[in-house]
């Protein structure tokens, strides 16, 4: 089924066949014909990675599997491009672990969750499947996922080699890991260099704040050849694209650390969301959002700036936009952005826990993470690969990588989907798609319902 704006991570590794083909040629992992498969050294920047993280225990790294031969299934969301990308990563895994065969299946975002729930209910779920950070607690707390902590301990696997926020997101309330992060997405400010050059305005940088953004976006909003060039574009239909960042930058939050206290109804949170509404209706520097989407106006060359996620890089490159990436402009309470990890989890009822764990472990290891980095569609969760491969892979990659230092995790709790649907519905109807209410009025309206949902 079709679904435009859930794209995000659905598209995160996807929609980029051409880029993959172009960008990956130099650094692809080549299955070796030798009995002990080894990795060919990547051409750029990553040779130090292979040498990095030396470990005493061979079991902690990939390619030393001694468990029973097994065939495991690995389910992902995405499209056929994403399937092809994942197949290459899986092929690399299988060449390192010849006794494990992995079958990859793909489904679009909506179908993926339908299938997952019914297959879990039927006791027939995939051995390993992809997990969205915010939805992880829904499955973890329902006792569907294998506790990986004993296996991590057994193999001496060092989770500190993975981005801290990613590990934190998959750490359950009992302190155990029921999955490992696979990759990350952060949000920053894309800008169209040509449009800035044409207007003689200097590029956005870390000194920018909200006022500066609104001011420059105003200067860049004009008629060009009979068409409107907008100063700014973002997606309003999910908190991750921009509005949760604005809430944090204003000093507010969405829910408390206990995941039971509603915080989005504060004046500060409203101030953040109000800034976005004002960009649309007061400053008029951003096109009014419309359900079904206007298409990515930045990517179509109709907007000068876009606050959005690292997953858009391959399609922005493919569209031929000459872009740079700056940190998000900071707000009254300082700088903040959002990070959302996707993880790989193991089904509790798997018949091959060892092989499944081997796959999860390898996925976060340097070899396979390098392949993730080469796709440019998301940020590798492995710290070394992130710093040494991804951050150098395109102009602006360093900005996305650095954003982890001030990033907040996208909210993640049991019942997230129901909560965010209610909240987003109210904002879409009355604040973004229409300005029938101020941010504060809309949040006050929906707050009792949200409080009730958190209490469930």
């Amino acid at each position: 089924m079709f679904r435009v704006s859930r794209v995000k991570r659905a598209m995160s590794l996807a929609a980029i066949a051409t880029v993959f083909a172009a960008g990956c040629g130099s650094t692809a992992v080549t299955p070796s014909p030798s009995p002990t498969p080894v990795l060919t050294a990547p051409a750029t920047g990553a040779s130090q990675v292979a040498a990095a993280s030396p470990t005493l225990n061979p079991a902690a790294s990939c390619g030393h599997y001694t468990g029973p031969a097994a065939t495991i299934s690995y389910a992902i969301w995405g499209d056929t491009t994403e399937l092809a990308n994942q197949q290459k990563i899986v092929d690399a895994f299988m060449s390192m672990n010849p006794t494990i065969k992995v079958n990859v299946t793909v489904a679009d975002w909506d179908t993926y969750w339908d299938k997952l729930q019914t297959s879990l209910a039927g006791g027939n779920a995939p051995d390993v499947f992809l997990m969205d950070g915010p939805l992880y607690p829904d499955y973890q707390t329902r006792n569907q996922l294998l506790d990986l902590t004993p296996l991590i301990t057994r193999d001496g696997f060092d989770t500190s080699q993975l981005a801290n926020l990613g590990v934190q997101d998959f750490t359950a309330s009992d302190g155990h890991l029921y999955g490992l992060p696979r990759d990350l997405s952060t949000i920053a400010l894309f800008y169209n260099k040509k449009m800035f050059d044409a207007a003689g305005i200097s590029y956005p940088d870390a000194t920018w704040n909200w006022d500066k953004l609104a001011q420059v976006a105003g200067q860049l909003t004009k008629q060009v050849n009979g068409q409107t060039q907008w100063g700014f574009y973002t997606e309003t239909t999910d908190m991750e694209n921009y509005w949760s960042e604005l809430v944090w930058q204003a000093g507010g939050d969405i829910v408390g650390a206990d995941k039971k206290t509603l915080l989005i109804d504060s004046d500060k949170a409203a101030q953040g969301i109000q800034f976005l509404q004002d960009l649309i209706y007061k400053d008029k520097v951003m096109a009014q959002p419309t359900p079904g989407g206007t298409g990515d106006l930045f990517e179509n060359g109709q907007a000068a700036m876009e606050a959005d996620g690292s997953w858009l890089v391959p399609s922005h490159i493919a569209a031929g936009i000459d872009f740079g990436v700056a940190p998000l402009p900071s707000g009254p309470a300082g700088q903040a952005t959002s990070v959302n990890p996707s993880g790989v989890v193991v089904y509790k009822g798997t018949k091959s826990p060892d092989a499944a764990w081997e796959f999860v472990k390898c996925y976060t290891g340097p070899q396979m993470q390098q392949m993730v980095a080469n796709l440019k569609a998301s940020m590798p969760v492995n710290k070394d690969v992130l710093a040494n491969v991804y951050a150098k892979s395109f102009d602006g990659a360093q900005t996305f990588a650095d954003a982890l230092a001030y990033a907040h995790l996208k909210p993640s709790f049991r019942g997230y989907n129901e909560f965010t649907t209610a909240l987003q519905d109210e904002l879409d109807s009355n604040v973004f798609n229409d300005n029938s209410k101020t941010a504060k009025a809309a949040l006050d309206e929906v707050a009792p319902q949200l409080t009730k949902l958190l209490g469930q």
């Binding site: 959002p289 359900p291 079904g292 989907n417 649907t421």
Partner: protein
């Protein structure tokens, strides 16, 4: 002689029902069902469907009745909660919105769809050159995927899409067809009515072609004009087709999902367009409340059942089978 008495006489009229079943009926004379011994064959041929229904539909349907009395997230064992789900639904604002939208959708789309289909069927029931091409054209929406249709319509409804461009020619200010919560559902109704037309047109067209021209000749001799011919020949003889398409449209409208799912989901106009089946899907598969979703399914079933029974009860008053 009134057209109605005329209509009640001739066995030719059975042909008005159109197609092979009418001629089969004539062969079997007064017998309305299979003869003795034919039941066995009928059952044999029906077996695949009957078994499928029993295993794949009847079982789950009965199961949802039980589940509607539980709290169940599909992953942990269900707990019995009595009729709580039903009482909770009646106080659930989102469910009530879905209920209201579903009634609105049905009340508008069913009559609109039938009237347009009848008009269109009469328009293409002409002997003019290239008519089969025109008919094929009207048939196309039926064989096009809902998703593809929705994408095209999303574009036509977009701020810079076809409808606003057309409107601007006539000095109309641009509308936000899908984004505006007031316009969203009507806009979706227009799309799905267009999409549903061909199926109804085909049935009406078959019905129209089954009306013997003698009747038109007869009323013409009596001095009937165009409207009278339509009112006293076409409509009465088409009532079986209208009845049939009406019941399908009614049930289909109560169960509308595809169009809502595709049009409303990407950047949904905030719950303004959710319908009952969408609510059931979202509640069960997105929000882990399968018990609540089961209860909502049963409420929908009861609504459809009540309307279907009422509809069938009115049959004798306006449907002319002979």
């Amino acid at each position: 002689m009134s057209i109605f008495s005329l209509a009640r006489t001739g066995s030719v009229l059975r042909r008005a029902r159109g197609g092979a079943s009418a001629s089969a009926l004539e062969r079997t004379g007064r017998h309305r069902g299979p003869r003795d011994g034919e039941w066995r064959w009928a059952l044999l041929f029906l077996a695949p469907t009957l078994i499928g229904l029993a295993v794949l539909s009847a079982g789950p349907i009965i199961a949802t009745l039980g589940l509607s009395l539980t709290s169940w997230d599909m992953l942990e064992p269900p707990t019995f909660v009595g009729i709580d789900n039903y009482t909770n639904l009646l106080g659930d604002a989102r469910f009530l919105t879905a209920l209201r939208n579903t009634f609105f959708y049905t009340a508008v789309s069913v009559p609109l769809g039938l009237i347009l289909a009848l008009g269109l069927a009469m328009a293409v029931n002409q002997r003019i050159r290239g008519i089969s091409w025109i008919r094929t054209m009207y048939f196309l929406p039926l064989v096009t995927s809902s998703t593809a249709i929705a994408i095209v319509w999303l574009w036509m409804y977009s701020p810079t899409g076809l409808f606003n461009n057309l409107g601007s020619v006539f000095g109309m200010s641009p509308q936000r067809w899908i984004a505006n919560p007031t316009l969203a559902l009507p806009s979706i109704i227009v799309m799905s009515t267009w999409q549903g037309l061909p199926a109804n047109v085909i049935i009406f067209l078959a019905g129209l072609q089954g009306i013997p021209s003698e009747y038109y000749d007869a009323v013409s001799v009596d001095g009937a004009g165009r409207f009278a011919r339509f009112r006293y020949v076409t409509v009465p003889l088409l009532t079986p087709s209208i009845f049939f398409t009406g019941i399908l449209a009614l049930i289909g409208a109560f169960q509308v999902f595809d169009q809502i799912y595709v049009m409303a989901n990407p950047g949904k106009p905030g719950g303004a367009t959710i319908t009952l089946v969408y609510f059931i899907y979202e509640t069960g598969f997105r929000n882990f409340h399968m018990g609540l979703a089961s209860a909502a399914s049963w409420i929908l079933f009861l609504i459809v059942a009540v309307f279907t029974i009422i509809y069938f009860r009115t049959q004798n008053r306006w449907v002319h089978y002979q």
